[in-house]
Symmetry: C2
Subunit: 415 residues, 2 copies
């Protein structure tokens, strides 16, 4: 039996125990883990140094090495993250509704854990702690398959979590790490239907696409965000510039950053010069269609490919449209169903945008950067779903649950 | 461009229109379709006769020919089914909650259609009408891929639906039928991620498994039900016999019928003789473990395979257990996560069964036969989900929807 099957079997078995734990017990387990992470800071940093030095040796690029690196502050915020999850309400056990049917049966819809959650992710070792804590709080077992770059950090973190759980009599099989970081182990995990109830990929577009294309386990697709800002002819232009600069530059490397401006032709000549000047102050490279170029001459031409691109960088594209219909059509064609915003003071255009744009989050007069579990008030998230099944948008604790019907009878049979 | 891509593209385009229709408009479309089906009864029966005669020529077995056959009554009930769906509340547009965040953003979670739903099904032409009506009511476009046995009936029904929609200015691309009934067309449909938001297989275990294993489109797994009745040591035995006979024999060919009895050893000698006698009066074949056989001697031995089997027939297996732990373990091992029932007067055992059995519907003192959209009060169903993602149990209109976050701001940017 291989590593995946052994760990799958243990996780499945453990999930039945986890599903029955009280919130108090689960919080006790989480607290023990948070304490242990702080207490073992040195060991984590030591293990992490091996990963960082290997990454540097292998010529991994700077931004990735930065994501991989753990220091005292980052370890503290891992522990703090757990403490925040302890504070959140436990969704498990809530009966969302119960009704009495004409035959006397009382039927209720109850929130229960999903069971075993698989997570495939890349270089960030903080995901190991986050994912465990969110799954444990919701009574799910989790099987983690992190990237090879972080394997030493991950092994140490998992060892600490397991020991902490054992110290307070919680099932240590609640979490496991696949030590085989080959491509094959990821592929096998995608077929582990016997043990996994859901698989969540966290990482770049390549990883997510590979999981969607190859997994027979149900997948929740997360992350890729080609987000637009549509500046309507009735926009407050000062607000539009403000929001644009925020949505593009406040943190360009994340999925809810703005990647493209769509502008109504009637205000393009007024809006674009100021907007482009401000973007340039933040060193944003700009590409645009011929009309945009005729207004702001020193921008580069935008290709078809540009409009479909998530730059995750200081770069943005511009598309000028004749009306809101064209704006909606353009956005629905190129977006990745993540977050889209209209800037307008017009009631009907705001309403049409909210109704007709197909995306997880649709905004009027606000930055797309708000699509986030904390900003939405969920307290924490396991990722942002860009698919429509099960969960859409930021996935908090509730999205890591399913339901079961509980039915109370007194001898009812079907006529 | 092949048939699937052409129809996929049209359905996708149509889905944007459908999502914006009012309930009144959608009900008008449904009413026109119901009327047209009744009006064109003769044409449907004529087309159906070709299918039935082909099936008989090809030696298709009697029960399948029966499912395939349409007569005046069955066509009437198709139209009645639509009329019932018209009566149901339209879930689309409901804002489940809206809250104001500290920064003044108002964030709401709104119910919207899934988009384009694909359905792969087998011989029953009534599914064509049902699936269309449920999808149309929820503002979804639907692409149907029925079995080759029903192709003539399906083509005629689709023609009637499309013409009826056109007659009341509704988009006829709301529904389409894949005319290529080869295995290849089904396989291609499973990869139609560009156009399909979800794929629902309806049919036997083989079809469902093929879709789960090969689809890159998100799937909702439906149907297979290896349902158990656990007769606890504290059962009311008269109730237990009553419920058993109902759950097994009221309609043995459906997924919520009982396939296995689990009995506490302390009441086995009292319960099994009566139970088996009653089952035999209904011509139910019985297999059991050695203890069951020692009590009711003329039953056949049950194999390991029997316990994992959905007979869909007048046959049942018996397993005797020493306690409720063994009962729960046995059921969680062999069940298909569909419907399970305990017969008991004991509070703690009832509670443990409800909590610890992993299934879509868990009953105390009632027949498993109630797991059904109508019986649960949903009014209609597209199938019974046995997976945990998105929908679990009977899938009504609500399960054919997703949500989107609508966010009202006045210039908010992220700090």
């Amino acid at each position: 039996m291989n590593e995946l099957n052994i760990k799958g079997q243990k996780a499945k078995k453990s999930s039945f125990t986890l599903a029955q734990l009280s919130s108090n017990d689960k919080n006790k387990g989480l607290k023990a883990v948070a304490d242990a992470i702080l207490l073992n800071e040195k060991d984590i940093i030591e293990a992490n140094k091996i990963d960082v030095s290997n990454a540097e040796k292998n010529g991994v690029k700077g931004s990735l090495v930065d994501r991989l690196t753990l220091d005292s502050n980052r370890i503290k915020s891992m522990a703090e993250g757990i403490m925040k999850i302890i504070q959140l309400d436990d969704p498990i056990g809530e009966v969302m509704w119960m009704k009495k049917r004409p035959n006397g049966l009382e039927i209720g819809k109850k929130i229960v854990p999903l069971g075993v959650i698989g997570i495939i992710y890349e270089a960030r070792p903080n995901v190991t702690v986050d994912a465990f804590a969110l799954c444990f709080k919701t009574g799910n077992a989790v099987i983690l398959r992190g990237g090879k770059e972080a394997i030493n950090s991950n092994l140490k973190i998992i060892e600490i979590i397991k020991n902490a759980l054992i110290s307070v009599n919680m099932p240590s099989d609640a979490v496991s790490l696949i030590e085989d970081t080959s491509r094959e182990s990821a592929t096998k995990m995608m077929k582990l239907n016997e043990y996994l109830d859901v698989l969540i990929p966290r990482g770049g577009a390549g990883l997510i696409q590979a999981v969607v294309n190859n997994s027979t386990v149900p997948v929740i697709e997360t992350g890729v965000g080609n987000c637009h800002l549509y500046v309507d002819e009735y926009a407050d232009l000062e607000m539009a510039v403000n929001i644009l600069v925020n949505a593009k530059t406040q943190r360009p490397g994340v999925c809810n950053a703005c990647e493209s401006i769509v502008v109504h032709t009637d205000i393009a000549a007024k809006f674009l010069p100021t907007a482009c000047k401000k973007l340039r102050e933040h060193n944003v490279a700009i590409v645009g269609d011929p009309i945009a170029k005729s207004i702001v001459q020193d921008i580069e031409p935008a290709s078809e490919e540009d409009y479909g691109k998530e730059y995750l960088d200081y770069k943005i594209s511009i598309k000028v449209v004749n009306n809101i219909d064209e704006a909606i059509e353009h956005i629905n064609k190129y977006n990745t169903k993540h977050s889209e915003s209209i800037i307008t003071e017009n009631y009907s255009n705001a309403r049409r945008f909210l109704n007709e744009i197909d995306a997880a989050a649709v905004y009027v007069n606000a930055s797309t950067r708000f699509t986030d579990g904390f900003e939405f008030g969920f307290g924490a998230e396991i990722g942002i779903s860009t698919q429509k099944l099960h969960a859409r948008g930021p996935m908090g604790l509730k999205e890591l649950t399913t339901s079961k019907y509980v039915i109370y009878g007194n001898g009812q049979i079907r006529e």
